[in-house]
């Protein structure tokens, strides 16, 4: 269980995290989303006690992290890959960390095996690839068999096999009743593994709750209609709060009307429909819509434009 209460972090005159409050419950994977610079990593560092909050508190299993007597048993975190001296082997690195918490050599070998680094564990970590560094970071997060696992961009630099492995690992950890908190900029990945979702932008909380509700609540949900009389149908449907965009000849994307209503109006006007179905917004669309105004670094060429919203 992670509880963040009114947490703020100020760097000079910039408020990186702004009165953030949320909690992450055990038993499910919780995704942590936000545009670049939204304050995700800063928030995670404050939860781990690495950065000192300007105000507010972060608690892990009921206490600030630094008050725990067996810290690695409470939470394991991957914050930055390659937090290791390049001249030291992965085995010695993990052995040292384990020693501080009274964790034995057996568990060190166990986690090395779990992340698939057995063959390179005795070599200098300086030669590790990004993916291997990531696996090492996950190994150190799992050292204490912790109740809470917190990973910042865990799939970065992993090959497809590694991504699949992470997905199963996180789901497995959640199924064992642990709290799993993961940030990622890969929406498709998040949609696959997360049940809960916390979205922040410019350091502020934008949304917290079930991922399914988040997507369902998105206004970009639309109805797709295919008709040989698309132009007539478009004129018929347009009105207050209704937008109709033409994505290809003969195909309309309608927002603001339910599918049933469109079908009934078309029937009343004697228009032929070939297709009529409701389109769920993707997590990506819902995310873009929510964070549109809170993107820290806009590309200079264009606003972030999402698919299926050509006509607004």
């Amino acid at each position: 269980m992670i509880e963040v209460n009114d947490l703020s972090k100020r760097y000079g005159d910039k408020l990186a995290v702004d009165a953030l409050s949320f909690s992450v419950r055990p038993g499910v994977v919780t995704g942590f989303l936000g545009p670049n610079g939204a304050g995700k990593s800063t928030t995670m560092r404050m939860i781990m006690g690495l950065d000192r909050p300007s105000s507010g508190t972060a608690r892990i299993n009921g206490r600030p992290y630094e008050q725990h007597k067996a810290p690695l048993q409470e939470i394991g975190a991957l914050l930055e890959a390659k937090s290791i001296h390049p001249g030291r082997s992965a085995y010695q690195h993990l052995l040292a960390l384990a020693a501080s918490n009274g964790i034995g050599k057996r568990r060190v070998l166990e986690v090395i095996d779990m992340v698939g680094l057995t063959e390179v564990a005795r070599k200098r970590a300086g030669g590790f690839s990004l993916g291997m560094g990531q696996r090492l970071g996950i190994a150190s997060a799992l050292l204490g068999d912790p109740q809470v696992v917190m990973l910042d961009e865990p799939v970065n630099g992993l090959d497809p096999e590694g991504v699949l492995w992470i997905r199963n690992l996180l789901k497995g950890l959640a199924d064992q009743g642990r709290t799993v908190f993961v940030s990622s900029h890969l929406m498709t990945e998040m949609a696959l593994i997360a049940e809960d979702l916390i979205v922040i932008g410019r350091g502020r909380l934008l949304s917290a709750g079930l991922l399914a509700d988040f997507i369902a609540g998105s206004a970009s949900r639309s109805v797709r209609v295919r008709s040989p009389q698309a132009a007539d149908l478009r004129a018929l449907l347009l009105g207050d709060g209704v937008t109709v965009s033409v994505s290809e000849p003969g195909v309309l994307d309608v927002t603001g009307l339910e599918a049933a209503e469109i079908g009934e109006r078309a029937a009343a006007a004697g228009l032929v429909l070939h297709e009529l179905f409701r389109q769920e917004a993707s997590l990506e669309e819902a995310f873009m819509e929510l964070t549109h105004d809170s993107v820290e670094y806009h590309a200079t060429t264009a606003e972030p434009v999402t698919t299926g919203r050509t006509n607004r």
């Binding site: 055990p26 038993g27 560092r45 781990m48 006690g49 690495l50 950065d51 000192r52 992290y65 630094e66 725990h68 007597k69 067996a70 810290p71 690695l72 048993q73 975190a77 914050l79 930055e80 390659k82 937090s83 290791i84 001296h85 390049p86 001249g87 030291r88 082997s89 010695q92 690195h93 052995l95 040292a96 960390l97 020693a99 501080s100 918490n101 009274g102 964790i103 034995g104 057996r106 568990r107 166990e110 150190s140 204490g144 068999d145 199924d175 064992q176 009743g177 642990r178």
Partner: protein, 278 residues
Amino acid sequence: MSTTDLAPQDTNRTERPSVDRQRVTFPRVVHMEWIKLRSLRSTTLTLAITVALLIGFGLLFSSLVGSGEGPDQEDFSDPTSITLGGVMLAALATAVLGVLMSAGEYATGTIRATLAAVPSRLPVLWGKVVVFAVVSFVLMFVAALGAFLAGQSVLSSRDMDTAALSDPGVFRAVVGAAVYLTGAGLIGLAVGVLLRNTAGAITLVVGALFVVPGLIQLLPSSWNDAIGPNLPSNAANSVMSVQTAGDSLSPGTGLAVFAVYIVVLLAGAAVLLKRRDA
């Protein structure tokens, strides 16, 4: 959450005796720092070089002194200081090692993993101090003793004045050499935490220990007399001198002044380590 939800996790835990009884204790933090120290080739190599410098220069000075070229025996205050002539250079190596132990962790990012494992932070600093002080003191004492004994036998074979460990102040001077070398490293360790930057910390420590004592001699003698003996390296030097020279501190006062530098720097390091973002 219902009890059935908890059940699989509980069984999971009892099946894992390898992670039972985890707790952070100070001896365990010391153990962590010991593993870190011995698992880097650079640290073991630096320690070996320090020992070699100490003994090598002791032998070199005792072989060359009074040979007609270079310094004469009168240029040294006594036979002990000839054989401990390598301490200055060796102190450079231990000071750098101290910096690497602390600032090196910031440079590589290891500090974040360390502080995640020991979030109360301060035990990490004290753990480093204990590991460094014990390892350095034991090694440097043995090396200084070796340099002294080997150097004295060279002097004796050349029919020159020699000193014995039982002579007044000699054993204290050999111990003082180990104190100087270990203290220089602790200063490096503290400055490394304060600056969190390897190059900056090395520059500062080398400057303060080895360059400033030379520069201070260029100041008016009233200033020099007041400041000079109290500089860290000069204060430490007086601990490893058999005879107290003119304006330098007595061994006891020198040790106290040297200790004050170390304690103040470590206290500053502790405050900042606790307060700052990692």
